[in-house]
Symmetry: C2
Subunit: 243 residues, 2 copies
Amino acid sequence: MIPKDHPRYKSLVTREHLADCARKGIVSWEGLTSHGRGEAFDYLLGEKTSESARQAEKAAAALLKTARHPVISVNGNTAALAAEGIAGLQKASGALVEVNLFHRKAERVQMIESLLREAGADVYSGDAERLLPLSHDRAWCRRDGMYSADVILVPLEDGDRCEVLVGMGKKVIAIDLNPLSRTAKTATLTVVDEVTRALPEIATAYTALSEKECQDIVRLLDNRVFLSEARNEMARRLCDVLD
Amino acid sequence: MIPKDHPRYKSLVTREHLADCARKGIVSWEGLTSHGRGEAFDYLLGEKTSESARQAEKAAAALLKTARHPVISVNGNTAALAAEGIAGLQKASGALVEVNLFHRKAERVQMIESLLREAGADVYSGDAERLLPLSHDRAWCRRDGMYSADVILVPLEDGDRCEVLVGMGKKVIAIDLNPLSRTAKTATLTVVDEVTRALPEIATAYTALSEKECQDIVRLLDNRVFLSEARNEMARRLCDVLD
């Protein structure tokens, strides 16, 4: 049992929850390590949503709202950490929710879909095909789902799929705490924020923004500015914290 | 299988190795997340030993060489990642190697001790007692080992034990990639470097330094300088990398 007064209580409880999810097979072993990476970058953000992340979350809402066929791609870590956030954003936006895994097994897909459904999400499932030009399991998706999407939200992406999706002409929104990652640099828009904080912010912005505002935000979107502000925020904290 | 030309090949192979060790019970589930945290900070170091880390490694060697009773404390992650490095440093320095775990089980201790012995380390085992003023399993150590040590090297420490050891009047050398961690700030000396790079550097410095040089280095040691330089190094990389 983790004592409630431990200075890292929330972080430790989340780790234990993820370890439980790994034991059940929802989260992969590698997913635990990825989470640790994210933790470190969130630490450098002060574990709160920065002003530039809030702007990026508005931009994410604008991209989803101006989309013809928006899809939210969910992996094990996202489902384990933020099933409610996914359900909430789906309700606000009407986007399709589709499970896409690096370590794909039929039963793992089913467990994650159940977890999302229990949280209130309407999951788009059915037969997947090998449609994306990738060598690993992430190539599997649905023709009427991710394959046809014009805008895809990929929280906690950790590979080369972002590049492939952008190469297919899709607009990709990443939620990634590492502003230096390939995903962060390749995505159309990168939200540098923790996923459980980011998803409700995107949902709220989706409801608040008018169509006109969304079009303006999308027209002016420059991901390099968001990434640069996130990096500066982290650098500031590295230098300030002990001096 | 991870393709050899993957830009993150080494990092992914290490992750897989740690996941294997977790399956065997050598590494704890939480240890996988801790590793991920370290990965992120190492990324910010450019995954190489900085000049200030090299100075800290010299200082670590000096502390070990001027010690009356030096002990190297080993946990699951350290054994999984760097059993050879531990064996090499022990041979160079003659320090005691003792296993100390947060998630302690007799069979886990034995597995880790075997791993270290296979790598060539002489492991100090025997009956442990609950000797450190800590509520969790890390309290267990040997009276003639860690309990009596004047200098302790703790690679990959992740808790409050560092504070307790310092409070007992011991000099603690931490190897910790996070220059902001409680361990990093509490230790007598923090080596901000990756453990497989740090251990051979400390061993080499141990052999190269004279007694007189060691005394001078120990007298002038200021951990705040090492931490500040590590933070500046990381901040610089955050700001430079994309601009």
